[in-house]
């Protein structure tokens, strides 16, 4: 079994980890670094619960190998503090069980940064990559739109 010792830059901290070639980034950040905010939902890229940011773009961390993370700026939900999107999710009851929430927030936060003028179809294009099983999605829509508006006015 081939092991690699690699450097990962996560949430602005440099981390050294030893991983198998086959270890996903999701497995590594959860198991080795204790960053359990990113969730395993399908391990197949279908549900988006493990979404993180890689160089500012949303990425499903179950679809990326840990060794591919070297030299990238990685942000997990633990790296977001009191952002507009987090506040909006709280105010609009945009979660229930909370398991998909880190993935939706990471996706939504990136949307705010990359597409501040996103219209309905762009929002849909981005958010349909994640599944929420508890809410009706209309709460999430309200939260995203509220944060987009707030983002624009600030």
């Amino acid at each position: 079994m081939k092991l690699h010792t690699i450097q990962l830059k996560i949430n602005d901290e440099q981390q050294t980890v030893t991983v198998r070639s086959g270890d996903t980034l999701l497995y590594t950040i959860r198991k080795q670094l204790g960053l359990t905010g990113a969730k395993p939902g399908c391990l197949n890229g279908d549900c988006g619960a493990c979404t993180i940011h890689v160089d500012g773009w949303p990425m499903k961390s179950c679809l990326m190998m840990a060794v591919e993370g070297e030299g990238k700026q990685i942000t997990t939900i633990e790296g977001l503090k009191d952002t507009p999107i987090q506040q909006a999710f709280v105010q609009h009851f945009a979660f229930q069980c909370g398991y998909c929430t880190p993935g939706f927030i990471m996706n939504g936060h990136s949307l705010l940064q990359k597409k501040p003028d996103a219209d309905d179809s762009t929002i849909k294009e981005w958010l349909e990559s994640n599944i929420c099983r508890c809410t009706s999605y209309s709460e999430i829509e309200k939260a995203i739109k509220f944060a987009l508006e707030k983002n624009k006015s600030s």
């Binding site: 198998r20 086959g22 959860r30 198991k31 204790g34 960053l35 359990t36 905010g37 990113a38 969730k39 395993p40 939902g41 399908c42 391990l43 197949n44 279908d46 549900c47 619960a49 997990t76 939900i77 633990e78 977001l80 503090k81 987090q86 999710f89 709280v90 105010q91 609009h92 009851f93 979660f95 229930q96 069980c97 909370g98 398991y99 998909c100 929430t101 880190p102 927030i105 309905d120 929002i123 849909k124 958010l127 349909e128 994640n130 599944i131 929420c132 099983r133 508890c134 809410t135 009706s136 999605y137 209309s138 709460e139 999430i140 829509e141």
Partner: protein, 772 residues
Amino acid sequence: MEVIGKSVIRKEAQDKVTGQAQYTHDYHTSKKLSGRVVLSPYGHARILSIDTTDARKVPGVRAIITGEQLPLTGESMRDRPPLATDKVRYHGEAVAIVVADTPNQGDLAASLIQIQYEVLPVVHTPTQAFQQNSPLVHEHLGEYEREKDVYPVPGTNIAHHVKIRKGNMEKGWGESSVTVEGDYSFSPSDHAAMETRSSTAEITPDGTIKIITSSQAPFMVKQLIASYFDEDIGKIVVDTPLVGGAYGGKASVQLEILAYLSSRAVGGRAVEIFNEREQDMMMSPSHIGLDAKIKIGADHSGVIKAMEIQFLWDGGAYSDKAIDLTRAGAVDCTGPYKVDHVWCDSYCMYTNHTYAAPFRGFSHSELSFAVERTLDLLAKKLNMDPLELRERNAIQPGHTTPTRVLLNQSNVGNLQECISKLRTLIRWEEGPVREINERLVRVKGVSCSWKTSTIDSNAPSGVILTFNRDGSINLMSGVVEIGTGTKTVLAQILAEKLKMDVDKIHVRMTVDTQTTPEHWKTVASRGIYMAGRALLEAADDVIAQLKEIASIVLRAPIEDLEVAHMKVFTRDDPRISVDFKDICYGYQYPNGNSIGGQIIGRGNFILRHLSHLDPETGEGNPGPEWTVAAYGVEVEFDRRDLTYRLIKAASVIDIGIVLNEKAALGQVMGAMSMGLSFAGRETFYYDEFGRVLNPQLRTYRPIRYGENPEYLVDFVYTPDLQAAYGARGVGEHGLLGMPSALGNALSLAANVSLHHLPLTPELIWKTKAGNV
């Protein structure tokens, strides 16, 4: 009211938006081993041999467990080996477990276990299972240990039979000038909670069995493991942290048993079994399927006179909770209508499908699809407005249920008012059909539902309240936070009762069965209903204790004292007061003398007057109250390619009272979303070997963002006099009428009668072609 009804922010909100909220699989320790399960590749096959020689050679493998010499399990009837022994009865059934240091070592070893199977004929549907020449799923049905009100029929695939016999069918049909009949069916599907199930077990040197599990029923885990394996119940401690969605699917006890067996096999070391999605969908209990026959008779004015119903529930390979699901479907079999003559046979059938867990609504969305579709057939035959037909027959106080419970102003909601509000909400006066162009048409369908919760008649709920030194309160209840916000709503109820700031009430989010008072199971929309009452009793207990000390300190009779804003004071002069913080741990006089002591409040609740059903007639009281609701769904249907878009979905529910507005709306809309997803797209597809073809979220595809309709929700407020502040259960009810309302809308839109789920364009096309 100050706090009740307000959209108080959920107590765990910050944790959930920052990634700090911890679920079962988030608890990591380096010493934890991994249990990997070998699943059956067939729906029905004899196990000829299992060879683990090669698998044992894999580095890191600590144990391999197979099924011999394990006791049978099952909640109402013990028909299920924890690991399959002589034969496998469903695709995905657990056959062996590899315990290894890491998951990948376990997977490698699991792939090297050689199992020889002889494939057996598969029982694909409950209707096939019901036929006399059907292959048997269980050959020794008569020998299983079971609860006394379970009625299996040995030599058949009938695990349980519930009979409802009310009135006189001959008379009912005699009074009917119109009759309609329909057959309906749908296959099992999945709960698809975003958190797959996982359980960790450890047995410490003193014999304590520690289990951490993603469950709605930690107290049942404790009880059943003690009972199945003859363990000391006091030495079993089950922890349940936050649960990432459940919807009934985590009320069954399965994975905990496998984790316990795994730990036992490696000398008590901690072993985690984590379901990957495919395993979660195939091995873990699923959402029940149904084959139903409905016949309704009515007079020419649309008054229903008789209903004859046969439910063949697809309980799957083992009976477990399907026995209770069969009963729940029977007791509310007519839907929310006055029917004097009822004949219902509800059978729990064995098939070679994954066995069934509860699913949000507990048989009611399923039965509602069959009954409400037939009601639309009746409306059509009578040439009558379908909402008017429902209103004319709506259940009311003074009527009796199929099991002959006399309804009153409290134990049933106001369905007629729900229907009346629905009319306005969906603009029913515009009519059900609106032409857009020659391709597109917008069509509305309606339905109604009712539901009581048929939980165990002695199911307990308890609450404990303790104080902090600043006078704030800790609230401990055994209700699991599965996403419904129950813990926050309990805090609101307490804040209202004590007239204090809800921020000064701290709730214990997690449950552990050693120190949290038991709440039977977090199911059946009974969280607030039962824990709310227990909480009010605990609050009264606290108030009495506070007043007792305060009366000495304030030198005033207890009767003159009031409690509010974390103080006890005299009613006529609130300035004469003492703060909670100065008495909740006893009161100390200036010279050091002290009186009283730590105040601990306790409360409990048990449902009253519930009874077993008569085995021949079904007579009995199955549940405390019936929540009623009316629904509408509007679709835009494309007549050219038979596709459709969900435009609007509406629910009007008699909720009693709203405790937290946004939380209540979230429960209702979330349930509607799940109902539309079940109705429109979710099912397991099987091949000729009974293999599940779509056990992935790529091929089993719930509704995603942007595919949802606009949701319209309204409430009716008929208080339940037994419940805290009159609140009725509401966690499930948004779902119940969605399949039927969507089915009614699409049947009208496509001008065919749709009798199956999911309601896909392909189903509509096949139905039109007479090819279902």
